[in-house]
């Protein structure tokens, strides 16, 4: 359930340092997020789509993730054309469709998917661990990055603990339903998970103290950026510039 299916591989995306990928992904996603013209969004989708193909993701997991993302856009397609308002209208039997709404739904679908492709190509090809370290080297507060890395480390332990408790409940004939008993049971399962997490936190803290921790995190140094990393970064920034130009020049005239 909790896994990183795209993080292993040997494409040029996997080999790049997490820092340049984070900066690259941020700049491209930002441009795509702020754009409001459909042709530029199409171009963005094509660009990030090609990046995604170059990163050679595992097809099955890819389809599943794309489907997840588009559940929400599907919801927009079902609602926006009916609710968006605006002047232009199209009547199909008793339904009044707003062209503006359809326009908006298409734009969002393109943007959402474009940004998502970029995320998969650039960030999902790194492990969470290297992303955490990358963020730290990019100047995010150290406490926050350690919080991220420690939480990541403990996620699996806690999730397994919860699942074992839930299994115990199932074995005693628990079948979820719409009832107070069900909600109380889930609360107890989660409450017990919290209690265990809490106590584990104390023990892990002791482990840190025993290894000389006194309130200051000292990171191990990380590899320097290679020439290819800089090249990669420049390419990504150029792509973002290109897309910016496109979206500005294609801005719908008002």
């Amino acid at each position: 359930m909790i896994d990183e299916p795209f993080a292993t591989g040997s494409t040029l995306f996997h080999k790049r340092d997490a820092r340049v990928k984070i900066v690259g992904a941020a700049s491209i996603s930002l441009v795509l997020a702020l754009n409001s013209s459909i042709p530029a969004a199409v171009a963005g989708c094509l660009v990030t789509g090609s990046l995604l193909i170059l990163s050679r993701p595992e097809p099955l997991s890819l389809c599943r993730r794309i489907a997840t993302i588009n559940v929400f856009t599907l919801f927009l397609w079902l609602t926006l054309p009916l609710t968006y308002g605006g002047e232009e209208m199209m009547q199909i039997s008793f339904l009044k469709l707003h062209l503006d709404g359809i326009h908006m739904a298409s734009l969002i679908t393109l943007k959402t998917n474009g940004i998502f492709f970029c995320f998969l190509a650039l960030l999902a090809t790194s492990t969470t661990v290297s992303l955490g370290h990358g963020l730290e080297r990019l100047g995010l507060p150290r406490k926050l990055c350690f919080l991220l890395l420690f939480s990541y480390r403990q996620l699996f332990v806690i999730h397994q603990e919860y699942q074992r408790l839930r299994r115990a409940a199932r074995l005693r004939g628990f079948i979820p339903a719409n009832s107070l008993h069900t909600y109380r049971t889930y609360s107890h399962l989660f409450g017990m998970t919290l209690v265990k997490s809490w106590n584990r936190g104390e023990r892990v803290h002791q482990a840190m103290v025993l290894r000389g921790f006194s309130g200051k995190f000292i990171p191990l140094d990380q590899p320097q950026l290679a020439k290819e990393d800089y090249l990669f970064l420049i390419t990504m920034l150029l792509l973002s510039l290109l897309l910016t130009g496109l979206s500005l020049s294609l801005l719908p005239l008002s």
């Binding site: 603990e161 408790l165 074995l171 005693r172 004939g173 017990m192 265990k196």
Partner: protein, 245 residues
Amino acid sequence: MIMRSQPPLLELRDISYSYPDHDSPLLEGINFSIHKERIGLIGPNGSGKTTLFQIIMGLLKADTGEILLEGKKMETEKDFQQIRRRLGLLFQNSDDQLFSPTVLEDVAFGPLNIGATPAEARNTSISTLKQLGLEGFEERITHKLSGGEKKIVALATILAMHPQLLLLDEPSNNLDPETRERLITILRGLNQVHIIISHDLDFLASTCTQLYAIEKKTLVRCEEKQVHSHEHIHPYGNQPHQHGT
């Protein structure tokens, strides 16, 4: 196995299982049936004893083979829900089994799930606790019990559902000698059909009538009633001890 007119309480036919990420199967061609026996199950660490229990309870799905409860084939999730009402599994680790704030709530959880009214559930729970010598434990916080107490309370949560067959996964593990003796007394007194996984043969000897072992991925019946002696050439042999398995 002696032929009886009645179908066995539980029967396994040609069960095989392998974990998704392993190359070779863990269990292969397991055939087994139980009527009224009290069975001990042994096998080295990692041989798949716990896995077998999980398969029986329908928590894992066997790759091949059939599970029959009183002659009826178990296939759907609904069937296994029925198995879970009639078989009780005691986990290796009681911390994974107790999740309600107080002992009474935890013991009453099962009866409530299978349709008892709150008053009935309370009565069943109190009498089960009494039966196990846990009077006065009703309002204790489960999380704060000692290891041995947790184990007995976990047993109570299962007995309160009046199972026909008990599956106990290393019940004597991590128990001090006193609690261990108490558990033996309890199990002998219950007079229940059960299968007990344990490395502790003394424990099995006092609670079971037959012994099975997992050997080379399958289940085999062991010969019984042997007296043997072995020599300890290591120091500290005078201390109560266990041998690495």
